[in-house]
Amino acid sequence: MFLVDAPITAKREVARDMFVITMRAPEIAASVRAGQFVNLGWSSGPLLRRPFSIYRVDGDQIEIVLKAVGEGTSKLVAMSPGDVLSCVGPLGHGFGLEAGPRSIVLVSGGLGVAPMPLAAREAAKLGMRVTWVHGARSSEDLCTESEGDEVIWATDDGSQGFKGTAVAAAPDADLVLACGPNRMLAAVAGRWPDGLVAVETYMGCGTGVCLGCAVPLKRGGYDRACKEGPVYRAADIDWAALPSHLSYAVMA
């Protein structure tokens, strides 16, 4: 884990109100795995850092994708190249992809697009056939930066691609990864109990010491989204007990 002062080098809008922020963080760029996240702070920012999945890596640069859903993200999307972010990461356990499966489906909703580009690349490197199914409310909300051998769009209003949810639009495969509103992930768990899902919780420390990011488990008890997670086997999570009102859900 590293603590880096990461200067913002670029910012682009990839869908309505959805932005990608690029920053220079060499140590993190060199070591991150798909599904891991960084915890961001900045001067005059809120007291607690804000966790964001790493969206893409390019040389010594990392990217995150976000929307303004509250105080912190509003300030983040208002920042410009040159501004510096204090960046802790890479954090958590990612999807941990290994050779074996021949086909993989990435299912993402709204901001759940975040961990997928890295996952697509890792999967491709491991020789898997990659299908990415991405859903959003409507075409304007759809981030169309895509990776993989096949890409399927889904929109609630049918304004682009399949009319309906990404889960409904997705084919089966040897391995399924999913990220998005916790409510969507619960649906994923129903269809693919062995699917790997990246969940969202509130976080205090992001480093495993505060127990603030409790994820309720089917077998009882909780573990830590920032340490054992944020990626879990879909069937292992007690979805009824996991708050589903977090911002991915709010925005997706």
């Binding site: 850092r49 976080m203 010491v209 505060c210 409790a214 309720p216």
Partner: protein
């Protein structure tokens, strides 16, 4: 080099900055830690038996502060002795165990189990946790209950016994004197304040436990006042806790009469906080021309 060593209730600390309970886990997986700057640590609150803790959400942010309701999730004392104490025994700073119970005898039992375990330097009695149904705060705002718990622990161990006070009292001096009389070696002031944050979409509290403990800079002026009141009421040392982000904040507690401080929430925002506070205190003393922490002027009128 400015000498920052302090003796707190029998224990010699190489520096006055400790890691606060619950914000440092068991010290085994703390990232980017600069050991040299750590005077000591207090482990996450433990019970005799394992505890699941409260359902999420457990955390909500507030202006310059955060609410938490972890509910003292923990593996229980056996696992603590098996999995963590051995590494503590290797370290070059003392580890105090934050002990919790639902009755005075449970506290005593815990102390007995941990007394003499290599790696356990002493105890911080938590009679101030706002996030448990039984015990916790209840012991903290009743002088009789507070001293009963302190005696129960005192009887079962020869190790240093610190008592962590709650701010949720009308007069902290009364509790402070009661636990001093019951044999405490030092006081820790303070634990979190009970607070609530409301979710305007769900029309209910943000935290599943309804309320949580408020920590962070928001509470610092209240914590400095309470630590100062406690320090004026007793002869044993007081360890100041609450909202310390920078060296200047720690120095407010020290000038107000505290022997040492604990840093908690700050480490979430800044993993280097403890080292920065430690080094900043040294720099301040140097700039003022003091050669040791002992020379720092204190404001502690006895009345």
């Amino acid at each position: 080099m400015t000498d920052l060593a302090v003796a707190v209730g029998g224990t010699r600390l190489r520096g006055p900055v400790l890691a606060a309970s619950g914000t440092f886990g068991y010290g085994t997986e703390v990232p980017l830690l600069e050991r040299r700057a750590l005077g000591g640590m207090v482990s996450k609150g433990i019970f005799l038996r394992p505890r699941e803790g409260t359902p999420p959400p457990r955390i909500a942010e507030t202006p310059s502060g955060m609410l938490n309701a972890i509910g003292l999730q923990g593996p229980g004392v056996d696992a603590l002795i098996r999995d963590y104490a051995p590494s503590w025994a290797e370290w070059d700073f003392p580890v105090f165990v934050n002990i919790n119970g639902e009755s005075a005898s449970e506290y005593g039992e815990l102390a007995a189990r941990l007394d003499g375990v290599p790696g356990v330097a002493g105890f911080e009695i938590n009679i101030s946790c706002p996030n448990v149904e039984q015990g916790g705060l209840y012991f903290g705002n009743d002088p009789r209950a507070a001293s009963a718990v302190t005696e129960a622990v005192r009887k079962r161990t020869s190790l240093p016994v610190w008592v962590k006070l709650t701010p949720m009292v009308s007069d902290i001096a009364v509790i402070a004197r009661a636990v001093e009389a019951a044999g405490a070696d030092a006081l820790c002031a303070i634990n979190t304040f009970v607070g609530m944050s409301v979710d305007l979409n769900a029309y209910k509290p943000r935290l599943s436990f309804r309320t949580g403990g408020l920590s962070g800079p928001a509470i610092r002026p209240l914590a400095v006042h309470l630590a100062h009141q406690a320090a004026r009421a007793v002869r044993i040392p007081v360890i100041g806790i609450g909202g310390i982000m920078r060296a200047e904040d720690a120095l407010e507690f020290l000038v107000a009469g505290c022997a040492a401080v604990q840093v908690g929430t700050a480490t979430f925002a800044n993993p280097r906080a403890i080292a920065e506070v430690h080094d900043g205190i040294a720099a301040f003393l140097e700039a003022k021309g003091f050669t040791s922490l002992a020379e720092l002027p204190r404001y502690l009128p006895r009345d």
